[in-house]
Amino acid sequence: MNRSEDQGAKMETGVSNVAKLMLHLQANDAKGAKQLFKTKVDSPWELAWALARLGREPSLPPTMPFGMKLTVAGWRAFKGDDFALAHEKFALALATTTCDFPWCSLGLARIYTNSGSWALARDWAVTAFSSAQRAHDGVMMSRALGALGEIFLRGGHPKNAWECFDLSSKVLPAGVASSPRQFGYLASALMRTGDLSRARQLLMSAIHLTGKSSSADLAYYFVRLLFLELQSGQVGLSDDLLASRSYDQKRPRALGFLAAGKALRAYQGGKHERVVSHLRQGSDLLETDRSWAGHWLKKLLAFAEDREPPAEPRFEFTPFAPPAQDSILVAPWQETKLSNQGFAALSQADNLDEGFACWRLFFI
């Protein structure tokens, strides 16, 4: 056998084992996947080759460790809302590395947050936090805690959410300042505990600290402010503020939520035409959004127009759990009950009342 034939045979073996690896991962058998990789797949290069054959090789510096390349590719896919591809990359990255890889765990946590597998999302966020904790990586701990806070927020545990958001700003290393964004997160938690005046203080602080720039975050602060006012019954207080500040128009999801808030305000005021118009605007903004956020807007519009609701988002991956953690620090978070059908309330919503009430399932 000459050199190229030898290489080809290895490649074929690699493809076959990579396929097996994927099956292990899809069957929630992370242990089996890791074992297979260690014993059967000769090198990360084989996996890279297999992925290249599938047209999925990320163009990254050749010196970058393979697991890291996959992780980067996973985050690229996540940012492009391709959750299935991101899932595949993160799962493979975890299988190819023997060390803690908090970025992968965090990536899976974010994917599962978006798909509604909130118990698993929590478990992966906790894994990311524990990895970062072992590495004394304050910035990563902060990110993981932020992700964890979002999961608790969506899952109806605002006190846990508040704790995670609060901690996420406290674990940052000296010299790394917490941002107005943190105030926005804390406000989200307090909106759900009913501490509305304090939530408002935090949001106004966040808006003013953002200065005169048209920060991408500003749109989210306005979304929260609008929903806060809808909760408190003090409708219209923020109108002048919204009109006076420019915010990033490239944030369709935030703008979609803003439209949903305006539609809810119109709905509470019995102005049906405005409800439809705001929802149509929001729905158009999220036309290509295949996530549950896009579905929410489209389903609300369908209710408002008395049409059949659209089909629900489908995610082409099989979620899997991380290895168990022996940490007692994270135990309170792990003991908190969360669903893996996080968007069930939206699935079951049968009218506009029930549909609008689902705003709490999102990071608003």
């Binding site: 006190k159 609060d166 901690l167 406290k170 602080s205 022996d326 007692i328 135990a331």
Partner: protein, 326 residues
């Protein structure tokens, strides 16, 4: 034998009386309470105990020290009169309703030349003493999770002095969180507070209704690379019939061991390694003896004495953090 008097015959005062029978260095000879029913309630059980109505009456008994077990708000008015007796004081925790009051009490006691010790029992309980002993030789402590759930209905204390911030000074944190912070200090030393979540019985953050007390307190702290979680609840988990459950546990994770301690004993890596009675009498008797020993030998430098101020500082920090806009 050191002769002690006790002020206050409520639940805690009666526990001190019961524990005194197990103390080898101290004897409680007189008890004061302005409430007749409270005096009557102990008269039958302690026939040799003298019972008096006023603090001034205590001066007739040639006391070596005083034990004080009163509701938190009662000390403020009587403190000068108590100090005028000129004897060392064992005061039930907390040392004060807030750090300012602690400093005020300490300063007045110093001026009156009265030594002041805080009664805090958990670090004198056999199971926690055993835990501390084992931790000394078991490698680096990585994490501690300390929990105390009182098992009361969080909505049920309205009307009591404990339900008002003005009288109680605080709720779950000052009441049972104090014990847990003290235990952590006892086990590993002082730590830095990172986050404090203090919530009232309606699930609101403490700052929203400042006059209320917190029925749920969760603190996260750090000492170097050691992480600490403290959870104190007026309520707790509910059983199948919807009743709140009492619960107490201190879990400690070291490099190689996981300890779980409560007042019934100690478990290491899943194996029971120490058992004891959960009652307080042994711990409280030990505390009375420690107080008596301090009186006899004029030794007021023990760690348990000086740990109280850092506890109050940490609690004050948690309250201030909760009241301030983040």
């Amino acid at each position: 034998m050191i002769r002690l008097g006790i002020i206050g015959l409520g639940k805690q005062g009666r526990e001190h009386l019961a524990a005194a029978s197990g103390a080898s260095l101290a004897n409680i000879v007189v008890a004061q309470d302005i409430v007749e029913d409270a005096r009557d309630a102990v008269a039958a059980d302690y026939p040799s105990l003298e019972l008096v109505t006023s603090i001034a009456d205590l001066s007739r008994f040639q006391l070596d020290g005083l034990v004080m077990a009163l509701p938190h708000h009662c000390y403020e008015d009587i403190w000068p009169q108590v100090l005028s007796l000129g004897v060392p004081i064992l005061k039930e925790k907390p040392l004060g309703r807030n750090l300012e009051e602690v400093n005020h009490f300490l300063q007045m006691a110093e001026e009156a030349n009265c030594s002041l010790q805080t009664a805090i029992q958990r670090r004198a309980h056999p199971s926690y003493i055993e835990l501390e002993k084992r931790l000394r030789n078991k490698g680096r402590v990585k994490e501690i999770r300390a929990r105390l759930h009182l098992g009361f209905d969080p909505q049920g204390s309205s009307g009591s002095w404990r339900a008002e911030r003005k009288t109680a000074g605080g709720g779950a944190l000052l009441d049972c969180g104090y014990h847990l912070i003290d235990l952590v200090h006892f086990l590993i030393g002082r730590f830095e507070l990172l986050s404090s979540g203090l919530w009232d019985s309606d699930g609101h953050m403490l700052a929203t209704f400042p006059a209320r007390i917190e029925t749920e307190a969760r603190l996260v702290g750090r000492q170097g690379n050691t992480w600490i979680v403290i959870e104190s609840l007026v309520g707790g988990r509910k059983d199948e019939e919807g009743r709140y459950q009492k619960f107490e546990s201190v879990e400690v994770l070291t490099d190689q061991h996981k300890f779980v301690a409560n007042r019934e004993g100690l478990v290491c890596n899943g194996e029971p390694v120490f058992r004891c009675r959960r009652d307080w009498d042994v711990a409280m008797a030990a505390q009375l003896d420690s107080f008596a020993s301090n009186i006899q030998n004029d030794t007021w430098h023990a760690q348990e004495h000086w740990d109280q101020i850092p506890i109050m500082k940490l609690i004050d920090q948690a309250y201030l953090g909760s009241f301030a806009a983040s």
